[in-house]
Symmetry: C2
Subunit: 337 residues, 2 copies
Amino acid sequence: MEESSSSSSQKKIEEEVSRLAELAKELQDSASSFISNSTTEEQSLRQRALAIDSNLKKLHSSVQTGAIDRKQAHKVRARCILSDGDGASFLPNKSHGRFLKMFLGPINVRASRKDVQLKVKEEYNSYRDRTAFLFLLFPSTLLLLRSWVWNGCFPALPVQLYQAWLLFLYTSLALRENILRVNGSDIRSWWICHHYCAMVMALVSLTWEIKGQPDCSHMQSDVQLFLLWAVMQGVAMLLQNRYQRQRLYTRIALGKAKRMDVVWGETAGVEGQLLLLCPILFVLQGFEAYIGLLLLKNSLVGVVSEWQVVVCGILLVVMAVGNFANTVQTLISKSRI
Amino acid sequence: MEESSSSSSQKKIEEEVSRLAELAKELQDSASSFISNSTTEEQSLRQRALAIDSNLKKLHSSVQTGAIDRKQAHKVRARCILSDGDGASFLPNKSHGRFLKMFLGPINVRASRKDVQLKVKEEYNSYRDRTAFLFLLFPSTLLLLRSWVWNGCFPALPVQLYQAWLLFLYTSLALRENILRVNGSDIRSWWICHHYCAMVMALVSLTWEIKGQPDCSHMQSDVQLFLLWAVMQGVAMLLQNRYQRQRLYTRIALGKAKRMDVVWGETAGVEGQLLLLCPILFVLQGFEAYIGLLLLKNSLVGVVSEWQVVVCGILLVVMAVGNFANTVQTLISKSRI
Ligand SMILES: CC(C)(COP(=O)(O)OP(=O)(O)OC[C@H]1O[C@@H](n2cnc3c(N)ncnc32)[C@H](O)[C@@H]1OP(=O)(O)O)[C@@H](O)C(=O)NCCC(=O)NCCS
Ligand SMILES: CC(C)(COP(=O)(O)OP(=O)(O)OC[C@H]1O[C@@H](n2cnc3c(N)ncnc32)[C@H](O)[C@@H]1OP(=O)(O)O)[C@@H](O)C(=O)NCCC(=O)NCCS
C-alpha cells in the first residue's frame, strides 16, 4: 500500500520534473536567441551612432575654423539628440578610468537606459545632501566638545573615527563620480581629482599622531586647523548642493531633464544664483589656502614637525588653487555661451 | 568673390547639418524602439524564469522531504540549465548588498551575458594572483629590512604605506567579491565578511602609533606579529589561488566553464587537491588565532596598552575561528554530494 502510493507520488514528481526541464530548455533557447539578437542590433546601433558622432565632430571642427556662424541651430539639435536621447547609450563608452578599474575590475557600470542614468544622478545628489549634513555636524561637534568637555584636548579615538569616515566618504564620492562620468556626466576631471587629493589627505591624517597631555592645545593646533577646514568644506558642499539641485529642477521644468550636459544659457535663472554662490566659494577657497599655508608654517617653525603636516599643507594649497582655477574656468565657459 | 565662396561653403555645411540631424533623428527613433522592445521582451523572459525557478524550489522541497530519490537526473538538469545558461540572466538579481550600495550607490553591476560574467571572474582570479605576490613580497621585505638595515626598528612610513595598501586591497577585494556575488557566484558570505574584518584591521593598524627609539624592538613586537600574519595570509592566498585556478581549468575541461556553482562531485581531481590544501589552511588558521591571542596577551600584561592592539587581537581570533568553521563547512558540504 505504502509502496504504491510512494511510487505514484514518485511518478507525479517525475512528470513534473520533465515538464520543468522542458520549460527550462525552452526558456534557455529563447533567452539565447534574445541575447544574440539584441547583441547584433546593439552593434548596428552602435556603429550608426559612431558614424554620426564622427561626422558631427568633423563638422564641429570646420565650424570652429570660422567658416560659418557658430550658433547653427540645426547642428546643435543633432548634437543634442545624439547626446541626450536613447541614441547616446550606443556611443562608445567614455573610458572607464583607472580608478574604477582599480577598485572594481573591468565591470560595466553604464546604464543603457536614460531614466536609470538620471536615477543614479539623483541618488548621487541626495547622497551629497545627506553627507553635507554630517560633514558639518561631525567636525563642529568635535570642536565644540573640545572646548566644553575635553578642556582643549582632543582624545584620539573620536578624531580618528571621523578621519576614517572622511576616507570612506571621499572614496565613495570619487567612485560615484567616476560612475556618473561613465554614464555621460560632464563633470570636470578636476572635481574628481579633488576628491582623490582629499582621500590622500584623510589617509595621511589617520597616521597623524594625536598627542595628548602635556601642552596639547599647542600640539594639537594642526588637528584643529584640519577640522576647521572640514567645517568649511561642509558649508561649501551645502551651498553647492543647493545650487545644483535647483539647476536640476530648472532643467526638469524646461523639459530638459534628460540632458546630462547643459550647453547653453537656458538655465539663466540659476546662473544668477551661481554669481551669488561664487564669491562665497572664492572666500572659502582662500580660507582653504590659508589653512594650508598655516600648516606649512607650523611645520617649518617646528611646532609640529611630522611629515603628515607638510603633506596635508601642500595638498590643501593644491586643492585651493585647483578649485579656484576650475571655478573660474567654469564661469568663463558659461559666460561664453 | 570671397563672400560667395564663404556662402557656398556655408550652404554645404548647412546641408550636411540637416542630413546629420535627419540621421540622428532616425537613430534616436530606432534606438528608443529597440530599447522599449527589448525591455518588454526581457520582462517576459524574467517572468518565465521566475515561474520555473519557483516551481523548481517547490519540487526541491518535496524531494527534500524524502518522497523521492535525491539524485533525480532530470531535476538536476533543469536546475542546471536555469542556473548556468542564458536563462539565468533573467532570474531576479541577488540583492545588491549594503556594502556595494554604500560605496557605489544604486548602480547595476550585473552583466547580462554569461561570457562577460566569466570574464569578470577570470579577472578577479588574476587580480588575486598579482596581489598574492605583492602580499608576500611587501611584508617580508619589511621584516628583512628591519633586521638587516633598520637595526631592529621599523621606521613608521614604510609600515604605514603598507597598511594603506592593505586597506585599499581589502576594500577592492570586498567590492569585487560583492560584484561577483551579484553576478551569480556562490561565494560564502563569510569570505566577504572576512575581508570586511581585514579592512577594519588595516584601518585600525593605520592609527596604531609606531614607536621609535628607545627600546623599539620591545615596543614594536606587535607590529612584527602583524606583519607575520600578513606573510602567512600571502601563503594562504597563493595556495588557494592555485587550487581555485585548477578548479576552473577542470571545469573548463569538462565543458562546464559556464557554471558559476559546482553542485556535485565532478571535479574529483581537484577535490583531492583540496584535501591536501586543507591541512595547510588549518595550520595557518591556527597560527592566525595564536597571533591574535599573543596580541591580546601583550595588551593585557601591559607591554603595549593601546586599544588598537586589543581590537586587532580580537579581530584575528574572530577571523581564525570563522575561517576554520567555514572551511570545515565547505568540506562537509562537498563530501555530502
Ligand atoms: C563652480 C560650480 C558651482 C559649478 O557647478 P556647475 O554649474 O554644476 O558646473 P558645470 O556646469 O561645469 O557642471 C558640469 C557637471 O559637473 C558636475 N559638477 C560640477 N561641479 C562639481 C563638483 N564640485 N562635484 C561634483 N560634480 C560637479 C555638475 O553636476 C554637472 O553634472 P552633469 O553634467 O551630470 O549635469 C561647482 O563646480 C562648484 O561648486 N565648485 C566649487 C567646489 C569647491 O570649490 N569646493 C571647495 C571649497 S573649499
Ligand atoms: C576552503 C576553500 C579552499 C574552498 O574553496 P572552494 O572549493 O572554491 O569553495 P566553494 O566550492 O564553496 O566555492 C564557492 C565559490 O566561492 C568562491 N570562494 C571560495 N572561497 C573563497 C575565498 N576564500 N575567497 C573568495 N572566493 C572564494 C569560489 O571561487 C567559488 O566561486 P564560484 O561560485 O564563482 O565558482 C576556500 O574557501 C579557502 O581557501 N578558504 C580558506 C581561506 C583562509 O582560511 N584564509 C586565511 C588563512 S589564515
